[in-house]
Subunit: 337 residues, 2 copies
């Protein structure tokens, strides 16, 4: 599978990629071991793509945007992979974003690879699969990886946590009610795109000015990543675009390229990836520890009653926590006997 | 110690409380077991106090506010305990808030009990000790427990997570730069007090109007706890006060009493405490799991190298996480051998 991903002809490579990603999505222990071995073998060939995160509410035109951007990039000689994180797919059992007909020209292009969201697991689990799929795409030589999300729950944070740049799409009327923009999302945006600017040029220009000013305030008071601006650092900005008419794609990509160049030169791109990788490791360790804890026979036996006792105020929460931890590690529960 | 806390004469009780809290703060295993037994014995006598969280930046007048409020409450027949959460004390090795001379009249009153912040541990650890100290105070019959914090890091969230009501103190000029108010703190405030209103009555009135309007917007778009307002729910509000002149203490306490009555009647006070207790239990379990993980001999041996490998991109973060989890649980590392 490794060779197919790395060196296969177009058709062989595509099949190998899909097989590899399916293997990595499996929860069977033997698959997991094979998957880890594959990942380790592919890893030296990853990391050379630019990782672009895209978010925006339904109706903002993400598919049209990604189709226009993808075809533009292919025209410039790039190979483009599109992955999605759709936490709602874990409820519906299928990805609402997975429909390839959404991007009808891009999806059939041989220089594009589109893979829908994994359809089971927690957001953390889905994000892990998507990160691993991203590595497979990079090893296969895709040099732009787009990770999109519809923005359910904490999915924007997950996407921002695995990409080099996080782009938020907005509608032209976004400026009319800035309070309605989901909390915390503006803070993590490196670039805001007012899409569908053709619908109402005046509103789009107003939104651009208002969001620019919000980003400046956030830069002063918000995300320390964006604070203490100096010329060597990126200032989040706002561009207009009409993906449907194909207008503004070049301006958008110029801004992305400028970001990439600056962040590479000042070392923040490498630092961001390193931080993301370590955070990812600890996030998976936390999830694993909690899972092992909840599945421990002694914990499963004690937990329901202790939760009731804590809720009813019959035992202090910290005492219950210590008893459960002691039960898992096989120690006697001195304090309560 | 239990009897001293529950039934001692004033002086005996005070000594028993201090001894109990010191025992609960100890990290020695035998102390911890005794402490858990004591907590469990005290627990049936807890929960009847009103738990009031107070936060505000240095200079906003927290000490004067608490002194004025505490003396007012004692005048009304209450017994008042004041605890602090000061994460910075874990750096300095002593609590900057612990100075009892800050509240010179309250601190010597026999119906008041003031205890400084524990001075070591993570914020989670400090918060745990403070929660346990709160239970000791309640068991001793203190019917108003005030937990104050200076608002370093996530300490406001910790205080809001252990109290029935979270109050944010602001200066009269707060309205001039709402963006400067720490992110996320306004969302969790049940009541905002413009303190030192005597300094600039106009500014205080302006701040009151502006923060009231911000809270309304947050109620619409923010914290779901405050959303979907109806008459049976509390609407966060803003009051003016001058603690130094003793003005507005009665208005403040009337608002607190109204909140308490409403939240008790609509069941949200009980629901909040139940949710807090369960969240506290899981927070301590998480901390315990992570500590046990980090202290495991195999993990300690492997972690430094794996962290370097993950940071350098030599191994996928999820693979490293799985290897470390396997090492802790004593399983073979099939995938990497």
């Amino acid at each position: 599978m490794r060779d197919g991903v790395l060196n296969g002809s177009a058709a062989v490579q595509r099949r190998a990629m899909s097989k590899a990603i399916t293997l990595l999505e499996s929860t069977r222990a033997d698959h997991r071991a094979q998957g880890d071995a594959l990942l380790t073998a592919l890893l030296p060939h990853t990391g050379r793509a630019f990782r672009l995160g895209i978010s925006g509410v339904p109706g903002v035109g993400k598919s049209t945007f990604i189709e226009a951007l993808g075809l533009y990039l292919i025209g410039q000689g790039h190979r483009v992979a599109v992955l999605t994180i759709d936490p709602s797919s874990t409820v519906s059992g299928g990805s609402i974003l997975g429909d390839k007909t959404r991007m009808e020209h891009l999806s059939v292009h041989e220089r594009a690879y589109i893979r829908p969201s994994p359809s089971s697991g927690t957001l953390g689990g889905v994000a892990e699969k998507t990160r691993e799929a991203m590595l497979v795409c990079e090893a296969a030589g895709y040099d732009v990886v787009i990770v999109e999300t519809v923005g359910v729950g904490q999915s924007e944070t997950a996407v921002a946590g695995m990409t080099d740049m996080f782009v938020l799409l907005q509608l032209p009327n976004a400026g009319d009610d800035l309070q309605a923009i989901k909390k915390g999302v503006m803070e993590i945006a490196d670039l805001v795109v007012i899409n569908k600017a053709d619908i109402d040029k005046n509103a789009a220009t107003r939104a651009q000015a208002q969001i620019t000013s919000s980003l400046r305030l956030l830069g002063l008071h918000g995300n320390p990543e964006h604070a203490h601006h100096d010329a060597s650092l990126w200032h989040p900005r706002v561009v207009q675009m009409s993906a449907l008419l194909g207008e503004g794609v070049d301006t958008f990509w110029a801004a992305v390229s400028e970001f990439r160049q600056l962040q590479t030169a000042n070392g923040r791109l490498a630092a961001r990836r390193e931080k993301q990788a370590l955070a990812w490791m600890w996030e998976r360790i936390d999830a694993g520890l909690k899972q092992a804890f909840r599945q421990h026979p002694q914990v499963r036996e004690l937990l329901p009653q202790l939760q009731q006792d804590v809720a009813a105020g019959r035992i202090a929460a910290s005492t219950a926590a210590r008893n459960l931890l002691a039960a898992q590690s096989g120690q006697a529960l001195e304090a309560t006997n």
